[in-house]
């Protein structure tokens, strides 16, 4: 009997769903037309629906008749005309669902036909669930689109200040929660001490008002090497804001490296180390105090791999913490979900090397097989996507999800506390 391959579900998203989620979180202020059937248009009501932003979404509501007869593009034309007629917006975005792609609706041609007929700029993105789409690429593309809509608004670039920076790659919900002591605020404070004036933070959940504000900055600091590559390009080309890439500042070593780069790029001319002496000392002391406890801890990365044998960007982001865990003295093991075949092993190895990781890793067949690596010990901590939390905890292991390790020296206490499982963490 022919041996069947077990396929695990792909770690990727429906592009339309991803776009809608991002646009909703970004609280976009331009109209979006979904050329889709009514079920796909319903995606706007799922997850992060925002009442005000909901009103920015329109749908052609393709019927079965439109699908069979292929006359849905007429509805799209009517919808574009109606939105332009009513609002005369500066920009409109057209997205489409799988159905229109399967039946071959000429959405691109229809959009082309409408372009130049009014002052409204019509943007189109082909968004379907039929092709592999990495969620982080969607986030990047949405950011690019937002910046594209802002490119001719010169007023947004007035009063640009020297040494003012945007921090790119933050999980915005944390950065904006000023009352959350586990948030990024301590790190932002350190950054100020390093001579930088923070203009705004930009992340997947940043509202469009922050994107607009970001155009007043002098420079972008991006510490997520996998996020916002296109965004960085359009900042540079259309808005004249350069982006510098820096390592994620977790732990003492990486944080100081980070501040060193920032300081050099901004030309602040200050000695950061002397400015942060107190913070460095406290971080070092706390690490020394818990050295023995940390040595007992084993961090297990549990990473899913995509259908094209690469690992997802969230996981890559998580892997950027590898050196930090080692700095703490923890034992680290990398488990990657996937068939243990040479082709797969090589693809994963190459992906890891791209982000500078030469460590060995173990491939395991599917989600269930991962259990055998998890020993039920409270000293073993699974580090992975939040989706794995329940699974790991059910097996008796502790769990830390990507994004829980926070940047900066003052966050060392927080980071160590979650690893040693101190009360409250």
């Amino acid at each position: 009997m022919k041996k069947m391959k077990k396929n695990t579900s792909g770690q990727h998203c429906c592009s339309l769903h991803g776009w809608i989620t991002c646009l909703m979180r970004n609280k976009i202020d331009f109209p979006v037309i979904l050329h889709s059937d009514i079920n796909c248009s319903n995606l706007v009501f799922k997850g992060d629906s925002d009442v005000n932003t909901l009103g920015r979404f329109f749908c052609t509501n393709l019927s079965e008749e439109n699908i069979i007869k292929g006359d849905g593009t007429k509805r799209l034309e009517e919808c574009i005309d109606a939105v332009i007629g009513e609002e005369q917006p500066r920009d409109i975005l057209i997205l489409n669902s799988c159905m229109s792609q399967i039946i071959g609706d000429d959405v691109k041609g229809t959009v082309q036909k409408k372009r130049g007929k009014s002052r409204t700029r019509i943007h189109y993105r082909e968004t379907t669930g039929l092709v592999f789409e990495d969620p982080k690429k969607v986030i990047d593309d949405v950011g690019y689109l937002i910046l594209e809509t802002l490119k001719n608004d010169n007023s947004l670039r007035d009063d640009r200040e020297r040494r003012t920076i945007n921090i790119i790659g933050f999980e915005n919900y944390v950065a904006h929660n000023k009352n959350d002591l586990r948030g990024y605020d301590p790190f932002l404070e350190e950054l100020r001490k390093a001579g930088a004036k923070i203009n705004t933070t930009i992340g997947p959940g940043s509202p469009i008002s922050d994107w607009k504000k970001s155009l007043k900055a002098d420079i972008n600091i991006n510490f997520d090497r996998r996020l916002y590559q296109n965004v960085a390009e359009i900042y540079s080309k259309k808005h004249n804001i350069k982006t510098i890439e820096v390592p994620f500042p977790a732990g003492i070593k990486q944080t100081l490296e980070f501040f060193g780069i920032v300081n050099e790029k901004l030309g602040a001319g200050k000695d950061i180390i002397s400015n942060l002496e107190k913070e460095i000392k406290e971080a070092e002391d706390y690490l020394e105090k818990h050295k023995n406890e940390l040595k007992k801890k084993k961090i297990i990365y549990n990473i899913a791999s995509n259908l094209d044998f690469t690992i997802g960007n969230s996981a890559k982001e998580g892997l950027l913490m590898l050196d930090f865990f080692k700095e703490l003295g923890c034992d680290v093991e990398i488990l990657i979900q996937g068939n243990p075949e040479e082709e797969h092993r090589l693809a994963v190895k190459n992906t890891l090397q791209e982000i500078g990781i030469e460590d060995d890793f173990t491939l395991f067949g599917h989600c269930g097989d991962g259990y055998k690596f998890i020993d039920g010990s409270s000293d073993t901590i699974v580090y992975g996507s939040p989706l794995l939390k329940e699974q790991a905890e059910r097996m008796g292991n502790r769990f830390i999800h990507y994004g829980e390790i926070l940047p900066g020296l003052m966050n060392m206490k927080h980071n160590i506390d979650i690893i040693i499982g101190k009360d409250g963490y």
Binding site: E64, E65, I67, I68, K69, G70, D71, I103
Partner: protein, 270 residues
């Protein structure tokens, strides 16, 4: 009820053969329904005196929940009933979904109840380009499949593809019952057809020669059965229809579709 599906390359004469078989079977006293599964909606035109009947897709969209059998099942000549699926204009939409939709409507309205008809003939669009056009096979509507071919090589190429589709869906109980050769030229060399039949382990059940009376009848939007009932060709269709109805699953062999390289070799006689 006999459920017969007629497949074959576009323009090969499926509608002519289907309509002639429907007319001939109806002429023998059986109750027949012919279903055109082609967005061109001209399968039954020779049974309706050239009248374009309302098609299932347009009618169902217009009537929504109020759809009735009489809205799209129309009387044709010699007591036949006629249905046209309908579908999109060329180059747009999804004709395959249209055909699938029609079958859903058939099920809802019990159109093909055994008590309604003795024979149902499905005249299906050319090549099996996607799952929708295999709906008569997939859904078990047309369980006895015939393929119309001619001496043209491409008609055999299409036939071979259709044999692949039959093999794919044979778990539904469908079976290939044989080829009907619709000759373009009565003097054509048919050696390549013989080689193809041998290679695919199939059979020809009937040959329809090029005939002036068929062409004349079609010009008048009639079948040759209705227009020239006493002609030799009408009698021949009577015999073919008897054969079509007489073939059962136990009498046919499972076809063996061939790959493209073998097909080319067979055509070249190698």
């Amino acid at each position: 009820m006999e459920r017969i599906a007629i497949y074959g390359k576009g323009g090969i004469g499926k509608s002519t053969i289907s309509s002639s078989l429907s007319a001939s079977i109806a002429h023998s006293g059986k109750k027949v329904i012919q279903i055109g599964c082609d967005p061109k909606r001209d399968s039954t035109i020779r049974l309706t005196d050239g009248e374009r009947i309302p098609n299932v897709i347009d009618t169902s969209m217009a009537k929504q929940n109020d759809l009735k059998k009489a809205d799209f099942v129309k009387n044709g000549s010699l007591g036949t009933d006629c249905v046209e699926c309908g579908g999109p204009k060329p180059g747009v939409g999804c004709a395959g979904r249209g055909i699938t939709k029609m079958f859903e409507i058939f099920e809802e309205l019990d159109i093909l109840d055994d008590n309604n008809y003795d024979v149902a003939i499905f005249d299906v669009l050319g090549d099996v380009v996607c799952g929708g056009f295999a709906a008569p096979m997939r859904k078990g509507f047309g369980d006895k499949i015939f393929i119309v071919i001619s001496e043209e090589i491409m008609s055999l190429y299409a036939a071979n593809n259709i044999l692949h589709a039959i093999r794919t869906y044979e778990y539904n109980g469908i079976y290939f019952a044989g080829f009907i050769v619709n000759l373009r030229n009565n003097k054509a060399n048919l050696d390549h057809i013989k080689r193809f039949i041998k290679a695919t382990q199939t059979e020809i059940i009937a040959t329809v020669p090029r005939n002036k009376l068929i062409v004349d009848a079609e010009k008048k939007n009639k079948t040759v059965i209705e227009q020239y009932p006493d002609s030799e060709i009408a009698t021949r269709f009577g015999k073919i229809s008897g054969k079509v109805l007489g073939i059962g699953k136990s009498k046919v062999k499972r076809p063996n579709p061939i790959d493209d390289v073998t097909f080319n070799n067979v055509m070249l006689g190698e």
